[in-house]
Amino acid sequence: MDNVLLEIRNLSKVYDSKGVSVRALSDVNLTVMRGETIGIVGESGCGKTTLGRCVVRGIDATSGEVLFHTEDGVIDFLKATGAQMKKYRKDIQMIFQDPYASLDPRMTVFDIISEPLRYNTRMSAKEIEQAVDRIAEQVGLNKAYLRRYPHAFSGGQRQRIGIARSLILQPKLIVCDEAVSALDVSIQAQIINLLEDLQKEYHLTYLFISHALSVVRHISDRVMVMYLGRMVEFGETEALFAHPMHPYTQALLSAVPQPDPDISVDRIILEGEVPNPANPPSGCHFHPRCAYATERCRTEAPPLVNHDGRLVACWECGKCQGKT
């Protein structure tokens, strides 16, 4: 086995509805190494959730490949047979944003956490109970409360239940879709630390999808910035946050309010809003809001270019570098 866990190649997803087709993802490429955390950031409608769901095959991508490196070689998750899916799907799990909507209110916490085991393994009832107890302790749930229903738990506790459920099959990759966004600040810190501890212990790989940039900066090793279905920038977290190269990344980072009244950022206030993905602008999708846009940006989509390990999709890259 090599160090690569997952390769996403030219992944595209088009939603068709009533004659309107929305290109939610276009030609996204990403290589994920074992044990790392990839942050995926962008505003609503940029395709980050679609990307996560395509990876777990919760929705079927329109084209492209999701190559999963397993003990038995590389398999394309999107074309895998039923038997292959059954065997490998448990290696990829998901944690959802809304801890209130993602747990069945009619199942006890024990049933929720143990359900994956009942479907995917032939463990005895006793083994299942032991496994659930172990994982509950790990994520900080009181064993005495496992027979209760989700409504009896707070948001943070529910998110722990969701995490326990995703961990019970000992997956290799977890897609965290806004896993901490709905939580209060003090609870958010608890869950972030928990995710980090679990990653160390089980050598987990995370795809961490979030719009909260400071959280992404804290937890990710590498970060991908998306805009209207395309990757616009990708690189090492520290470097990307210190020196964003794409004008959109620069604006996005400058817009984050800092919890310190003395930090005055030269805020780049973007004009307008994210355009309708059903009718995206020509050329570079960002050009109508970009201060550096030229004629070429309006007509030709910029390719991702490697600048010393940083991938940036911008024709005018370099022009705005003095700004940061």
């Binding site: 505003e43 609503s44 707070s154 948001g155 943070g156 506790q157 209060d184 600040v185 003090s186 609870i187 958010q188 810190a189 608890q190 972030i192 630390n193 980090e196 719009h211 940039l213 400071s214 959280v215 900066r217 804290h218 937890i219 977290t237 520290e238 946050f241 604006a251 996005l252 980072l253 400058s254 817009a255 984050v256 309010p257 800092q258 919890p259 310190d260 009244p261 003395d262 930090i263 805020r267 206030i269 973007l270 307008g272 809003e273 994210v274």
Partner: protein, 352 residues
Amino acid sequence: MKRTHREHTQATYEMSPEHILEVKDLHVHIAVDDYDLHAVRGVSFSLKKGETLGLVGESGCGKSVTSKEILGINPNNCTGSGQILYRTKAGKVLNLLELSRDGETYRSIRGSEISMIFQEPMTAFSPLYTIGNQLAEIVLLHDPKATKASARAHVLEMLKKVGIANPEKRIDQYPHEFSGGMLQRALIDMMLCCNPDILIADEPTTALDVTIQAQILELMRSLQKEFGMSILFITHDLGTVANMCDHVAVMYLGEIIEFGTVHQIFHNPQHPYTRGLLRSLPKMNQSREKKLYIIDGVVPLPVELPPCCGFHDRCEACMDDVCPKRDIPEFTVEPGHMVRCMLMEQGARKHG
């Protein structure tokens, strides 16, 4: 909330001339099924003309209930006591808690003088009427001299002011044709139509993307400069507070546990909760290797609370013989900086 007082029984109240709003020892009880939720437990603060006061805290700390009590729009199972003094545009000082909620006086204040914008702009508009229709309604309601045509002209002008592109077309569109950011602009517009003295902004940017949030905050700042209104800014986002507010009140379990200027709160926080909250936040300029600080446990339910510090069971510095057992008085750290924590009495400043 039951307010049976007749309007003419309103006593005369004194208020510091520079203040426009004074909340004094406000308590709000919410009757839920078979128990009594003490949601706001003795909150006092004041608002000067033109300043922005941030009310910060996590879910359930009572910040929204406090703000809605000012407008008298809490549901009927809420009972408020204490004083909410407000200086009207006409210069009269009123205790809002004594007004009849549906009375003439309150209705003339609500919207025209104290206005509110909400977290979810998507649910603040009716989907059945055009944006222009809903905004013009406000103008017509609050300005008896307005005609349909003049109201429409006024709305158009305001839509331009809040930065909505192509207002002539937008004014006849329905809410579903607007994006979240644009609806929030329209909502701000709705509030501006009456030129209020106080704006209560309840998590106005929480549901918006960061770049849109930056636009809306910028808009609020410039409008405040232009119209000179006071803003009561309610949020859980400490980043936004640091950027928007002059003063900050940190709430926990229905109490203001720390109050000060934005610099005092962010640079010299004294209450263990404020400190913990600031430390548990991932920051953009801090090493990523460091683990986040954790405040253990969760916010308790404010039911049948004995006199105590609400934070004692989550506090690292809790003194078992004091904190859970008595009311915590206010201590002054320096002029304008108040903390409700027994550690201050001991002079044990360097805790946590």
